[in-house]
């Protein structure tokens, strides 16, 4: 446990406050499996979003597939709405290289052509390898390459950030 890592729930509340003024009633929230979905669920509730929550599993869009193969537990993507012409708020837990977000955007475009996509992440840890930056970040922190930030969820639903 890293002493300086703030409480995940506080960060999510901060994120919601930053997003709220920019949100239109038609914005669709989409979380990326698995941690991004947990954050998206909280934001969806805190922002009183009336549209259903979308979820993406980007396993079929990963750029390292031919090297490491398919994740053994692929979850179905679930986008219970038409994306055509809509504003999307894409949510992930940790932004690192940006490759997951690239894959997620590729997948979104296979469902339709959104009007806009904005990115909200709980933590932007640096180490970007693509020109992808968050529109909203609960925490911006420089983490060395050999360390990982993980979001985990306890049985009672409590979210915790750990640095290992």
């Amino acid at each position: 446990m890293h002493a300086s890592l703030p409480d995940a729930n506080t960060l999510i509340a901060r994120l919601a406050d930053a997003i709220a003024p920019t949100l239109s009633p038609d914005t669709l929230i989409v979380g990326i499996h698995t941690g991004g979905v947990w954050v998206a669920e909280r934001l969806h509730a805190l922002l009183h979003c009336t549209k259903p929550l979308g979820t993406l599993d980007i396993s079929f869009y990963r750029d390292d597939f031919s090297r490491i193969g398919l994740h053994p537990q692929v979850k179905p993507s679930n986008l219970p709405f038409a994306l055509e012409g809509r504003d999307i708020l894409l949510v992930d837990d940790v932004l690192h290289t940006g490759r997951t977000v690239r894959a997620a955007m590729n997948e979104l475009f296979d469902y339709g052509r959104p009007a806009s996509i904005r990115l909200a992440v709980l933590v932007d840890r640096g180490g970007h390898e693509l020109p992808i930056r968050p529109d909203f970040a609960g925490l911006t922190i420089a983490v060395p390459d050999h360390q990982n930030i993980n979001l985990s969820r306890l049985d009672d639903g409590h979210l915790t950030l750990t640095l290992a």
Binding site: Q73, P76, D110
Partner: protein, 317 residues
């Protein structure tokens, strides 16, 4: 050495369901589940196999199997080449491994093989370079693993679990590679009662050793079943001495609404196709509310996508 698995236990080729670990079968079914929605989106494709070349090597005619493999490969964004070898260089006397070598020289990544000879896919799998995968799409009387897997996928979709089922496989088990693959998969997945039902002349000697119960009386064999799988009666079998006539066969082993009523009320009826209506199955049943024969075809695409994705991914790791 197990030709189908890598040293670290991943799928390398898919040749038979005999001996394929339960964990791998379950992983294929789970992966297929996540491919199910791809056919319903705006863009019916995912980019997993972009840039891969898949060759459909069909030494024996097939419409449905070849087409569903082709669609599955295309939904994974692979490039697909269909070779109908009966009408190609094999008629000019080119040996099977020469054909394979030539296609490998065109940078093939995967071969989907259908052949009338049992063991053909194994033979090719032994021969190919390490980066090439082979999928058996039916070899002689031996195996048709993707059909067996899509049948398991269908059963799981309608019945949820395997551990409480009674499944009957009815008809020409002797000549059926589909039946062999189904029996291996059903027993591996823990189905407590697998029955084979048919006349003595169409059941292989010693089939009990595969862990099945044998019935020569269809009424008894269907009683209490959750799943009824009908097999195609191949017309050419009728010409030999094994069967008196199609009418006679239908009378004893054709699935009619009356016979189906002996199974559980929520029993599903499956058939690998193509059906002989009025020979092994009555049209009222084939088109009836308990039939899941067309969903089987749809599921076959997702299951073949799962197999190809698992074979192609991490092959060089």
């Amino acid at each position: 050495m197990n030709l189908q698995l890598t040293e670290d236990g991943r799928l390398r080729h898919l040749l038979t369901l005999d001996g394929l670990p339960r964990a791998i079968i379950t992983q294929i079914l789970d992966t297929a589940e996540s491919f199910m929605d791809v056919g319903e989106r705006e863009v019916k494709k995912v980019p997993l196999l972009r840039g891969k070349s898949i060759f459909n090597l069909f030494f024996e005619p097939s419409t449905r199997t070849r087409t569903t493999f082709e669609i599955a490969a295309k939904r994974l964004s692979a490039d697909v080449v269909n070779l109908n070898i009966a009408t190609s260089s094999q008629t000019k006397g080119e040996a099977i491994l020469d054909t394979v070598d030539n296609l490998a020289a065109m940078h093939a990544d995967m071969f989907i093989v259908r052949h009338a000879q049992s063991g053909a896919a194994h033979f090719i799998a032994h021969h190919v370079a390490p980066h090439i995968s082979v999928v058996n799409a039916g070899d002689g009387r031996h195996a048709h693993p993707t059909q067996g897997l899509l049948d398991m996928f269908t059963i799981r979709r309608y019945k949820g679990e395997f551990h409480n089922l009674t499944v009957a496989i009815v008809g020409d088990v002797l000549h059926s590679r589909v039946a062999r693959s189904q029996i291996h998969a059903l027993t591996t997945l823990g189905v407590p009662e697998v029955r084979v039902v048919g006349p003595k002349t169409l059941l292989p000697a010693g089939v009990e050793q595969m862990g099945v119960r044998v019935f020569h009386d269809m009424e008894a064999g269907l009683t209490g079943c959750d799943v009824v799988i009908m097999l195609r009666l191949q017309n050419e079998r009728m010409k030999g001495a094994r069967l008196p006539s199609a009418q006679e066969y239908f009378k004893f082993f054709g699935l009619t609404p009356e016979k189906l009523a002996l199974a559980r009320p929520d029993a599903i009826v499956m058939h690998p196709g193509p059906m002989n209506r009025g020979v092994e199955i009555a049209s009222e049943v084939a088109d009836g509310p308990q039939s899941v024969i067309l969903p089987q075809v749809t599921y076959g695409i997702a299951v073949r996508m799962a197999v190809m994705a698992m074979l192609a991914g991490g092959a060089t790791a």
